[in-house]
């Protein structure tokens, strides 16, 4: 976003990308059929399936990371132009007033309020496009919305039953354009193939590649160097940033580029890694790290889920139910914490429908087909084979429902990434070592999620197929990192002793260094990080432009 804004404003920008160039128009696997993959879409090579857009994953050959004291953290890296935005769920939620200025005193204030950031959320809405509905919920601020997609059939059952058990459900909010975007001729409105995770060839969804970087290249002001793995940021004897040192992955040679201003947007953990590896006489603790907070306060959203099927949907009529590739319905956090045994909250993402079959299709049917009577109304034995089994697959198709909670994890100093003193990657760059544990707050939240999901499933008459989730597995709470909302590793604040960046995401210790990914987050709400990253990045880019006019950076 910062590169896009500055290039549009006439500033010469050089972008270093650790992976290859990716243009969804050419490189997306949209509209491929399952049989066009020899593994039928299985996630052997790409963690979210063979057609998913992300290059990279939890493990990358030659680029390890480690964990301290047997704690857990899984680090997803997408090495490609546009990174993780090429495959994400496009769920685009604003953080609310209390997220920036929490009233419970549990976590620290952001160095600005919702009202300060609101104009930037508005600009992002207009520039990129988002669907949703105006609801007037204070903790879930409205944006400038296009028409959202209507619910799919299983989602209507969810909506009706959730309401009955006191869980409000509203239309989803997704960065997919459902109408022409004013002033933009490069992007075609959504035609509902449901494949945003593959990235849209006609740019109907938001990917940073298609919507920001590629248009910025067209201005002639932005140049991208791909396969450039950044080793460190270079500084002069006064501690000012002078440029960047990187390894060209193609020829394995070291290169240096110089710049008046350095803007870091490598993703929260990678940006922290680069700063910690940028040690010099004037920055012995790593760059921008006089406070010692770089790498600390790492937090990822909590996640727990439940799936099942709706027997009343057996033998359902066929129609094209792909819909949009982002959520159609969701539940914003709806309860009062004063009555609960955990702080903050979570939202629920729902799904279901007649989706494109892929590897794992109706896997484990022997656990399902004995739970419902056959076509003749008589009880059936579980498992089986032959014509009757073949018919069961048809009968069960499209009956599945799923729900997943995404909640606030508290930012804690004790959860961090640091440089592993003993390990380097294949480029010789010291790697990250993670230390992360969940606390009771997160576990209790996951328990509450499961109770909520169970009550909705029960009300619908659904048969639950996942779990059971109990205290033995932290109520299905995913390991830290699995939700891929990791933030907070180069946090901002007014006090240079307690933060690395000021309120403009500018390093306290290095005035011509800025960070524009999720690392500056003080405390993430239950909302997905992307819309806030974009708003913050745009705000920082405007500030950089202003400061350049004043010759400050």
């Amino acid at each position: 976003m910062a590169g896009h804004f500055l290039a549009q404003a006439g500033i010469k920008v050089l972008m270093l990308e650790a992976g290859p160039f990716f243009d969804p128009a050419k490189d997306s696997l949209q509209f491929k059929w399952p049989w066009e993959s020899p593994r039928r879409g299985a996630s052997t090579v790409r963690p979210f399936g063979d057609f998913d857009a992300a290059y990279g994953g939890w493990e990358i050959d030659g680029e390890p990371y480690t964990r301290k004291n047997n704690t857990e953290f899984d680090w997803f890296r997408s090495r490609m132009l546009g990174g993780k935005t090429n495959h994400w769920g496009r769920i685009s939620l604003r953080m609310g007033p209390d997220d920036f200025r929490p009233k419970d005193g549990l976590t620290e204030d952001w160095p600005f309020t919702y009202d300060d950031i609101k104009p930037y959320y508005d600009k992002v809405d207009r520039l990129i496009g988002i669907y949703g509905t105006v609801e007037g919920i204070e903790s879930e601020p409205d944006g400038i919305f296009m028409t959202p997609p209507k619910p799919r059939l299983p989602e209507l059952f969810i909506k009706r039953s959730a309401a009955k058990v006191g869980v409000p459900v509203i239309p989803g909010r997704g960065s997919v354009i459902t109408e022409p975007l004013a002033g933009n001729k490069d992007r075609q409105p959504c035609y509902y193939c449901g494949q945003c995770s593959r990235s849209c060839k006609t740019y109907g969804d938001f990917s940073a590649s298609s919507c920001l970087v590629i248009p910025a290249i067209k201005t002639g002001n932005l140049e991208v160097i791909t396969n450039a793995m950044v080793r460190e940021i270079l500084t002069d004897k006064n501690g000012q940033a002078t440029g960047v040192s990187y390894i060209n992955k193609d020829d394995l040679q070291e290169y240096q580029v110089s710049a008046k201003t350095v803007v870091l947007g490598a993703s929260a953990c990678e940006s922290a890694r680069i700063l910690l590896n940028s040690k010099s006489a004037s920055h012995p603790n790593g760059l921008a790290n006089n406070s010692g907070v770089v790498g600390k306060y790492l937090h990822d959203s909590t996640g727990s889920s439940l799936s099942g099927f709706l027997p009343q949907l057996m033998d359902r009529k066929r129609f094209n139910e792909d819909g949009a590739g982002s959520i159609h319905i969701y539940s914003p956090w709806w309860l009062d914490n004063k009555k609960l045994d955990f702080p903050r909250g979570y939202h629920i993402e729902f799904g279901g429908g007649m989706r494109m079959p892929s590897y794992g299709f109706e896997s484990g049917i022997h656990r399902l087909n004995g739970k419902v009577p056959g076509r003749d109304g008589k009880p059936k034995q579980a498992g089986g084979f032959g014509a009757s089994l073949k018919d069961d697959y048809r009968r069960f198709y499209g009956t599945r429902v799923g729900m997943a909670g995404r909640g606030t994890a508290i930012a804690r100093k004790e959860n961090y990434c640091e440089i592993d003193p003993n390990v380097v990657d294949k480029f010789g760059i010291p790697v990250l070592r993670f230390h992360y544990t969940w606390s009771n707050e997160e576990v209790k939240q996951a328990k509450h999620m499961q109770e909520t999901f169970q009550s909705i499933m029960h009300e619908m008459g659904a048969i639950v197929t996942s779990g059971p989730h109990g205290p033995e597995n932290n109520y299905g709470l995913e390991a830290p990192g699995r939700i891929i909302h990791e933030v907070g590793t180069i946090r901002m604040g007014d006090d240079p002793k307690k933060s690395a960046l000021n309120k403009w995401c500018q390093a306290h210790d290095c005035k011509n260094l800025f960070v524009v990914d999720a690392a500056p987050f003080v405390q993430q709400g239950d909302k997905n990080a992307t819309w806030t990253i974009l708003a913050l990045s745009l705000r920082t880019a405007e500030y950089i432009l202003e400061q350049r006019k004043k010759f400050n950076v």
Binding site: K26, S28, L29, F31, W33, P34, W35, P38, R39, R40, G41, A42, T44, V45, Y55, D61, P149, K150, P151, L153, L156, K159, R160, Y191, Y192, C193, Q195, Q312, R316, K317, R318, F319, N320, E321, D322, G323, A324, M354, R355, M356, P357, Y359, G360, F361, E362, S363, I365, H366, G370, Q381, G383, G384, F385, G386, A387, S388, L389, K390, Y393, Y397
Partner: protein, 209 residues
């Protein structure tokens, strides 16, 4: 499925299995010849290591002829031809299983071991490997391992193997062109989503939700 239909399905399979392997070889040649000219287009968006990995896996061979024939018989017992679509082997499910066990090696030991378990059972019972047993014997054997909730003592390993075989067969069949058509999946094309059709809303009483 009644007994007579099952027998019919197996009978068809026994004939087609040998033909299948021959057909498979011819197909390979075609694919190799075609790949040289279309490689660029079909590999767009793929990282180089992915293309290499797929090529390598396709060149390797995991299952023996004997195992492939056994898999073919089993797959067609699980998903036979019916009035709506063809059988598992018509949809090239055995070839898919050959690929997927190389792609996901955790399938290899349970599959190889499961096939051997099955043959041992059949040798003891019928003095023949599974594939060489009569159709009626094959069906009798499968009936002993196809119903997880009424499994007889000593048959548990067979049930675990058959569950895996059933899952892999379904994955292979319903992700094939034939299987997708059979299911009636109607998407993967540009369209206008305007919500659930009126008649369907009415069917479930969801008009006002």
């Amino acid at each position: 499925m009644n007994r007579r239909e099952s027998l019919k399905a197996i009978g068809l399979t026994a004939v087609s299995a040998g033909v299948l392997l021959e057909a498979c070889k011819t197909d390979d040649k075609k694919t190799t010849a075609g790949a040289a000219t279309t490689a660029d287009e079909s590999n767009a968006g793929r990282e180089a290591f992915e293309v290499e990995r797929n090529k390598k896996l396709k060149e390797e061979r995991f299952f023996t002829d004997h195992e492939m024939l056994t898999i073919t018989v089993l797959a067609d017992i699980i998903i036979p031809k019916d009035e709506k679509s063809g059988s598992a082997s018509d949809a090239k499910v055995p070839e898919f299983i050959e690929f997927i066990v190389k792609d996901i090696p955790s399938h290899q030991v349970p599959m190889r071991g499961g096939l051997r378990w099955l043959d041992t059972q059949c040798m003891n019972r019928y003095n023949n490997a599974f594939k060489d047993a009569t159709a009626a014997q094959q069906l009798e054997m499968v009936n002993d391992i196809a119903w997880p909730e009424k499994v007889k003592p000593g048959m548990e390993q067979g049930v675990a193997f058959f569950n895996r075989m059933r899952d892999l067969t379904a994955s292979g069949f319903f992700t094939s062109e034939m299987g997708v058509k059979d299911l009636g999946y109607a998407g993967n094309m540009p369209n206008k989503w305007e919500g659930v059709p009126e008649d369907v809303l009415k069917q479930y009483g969801l008009e006002n939700v």
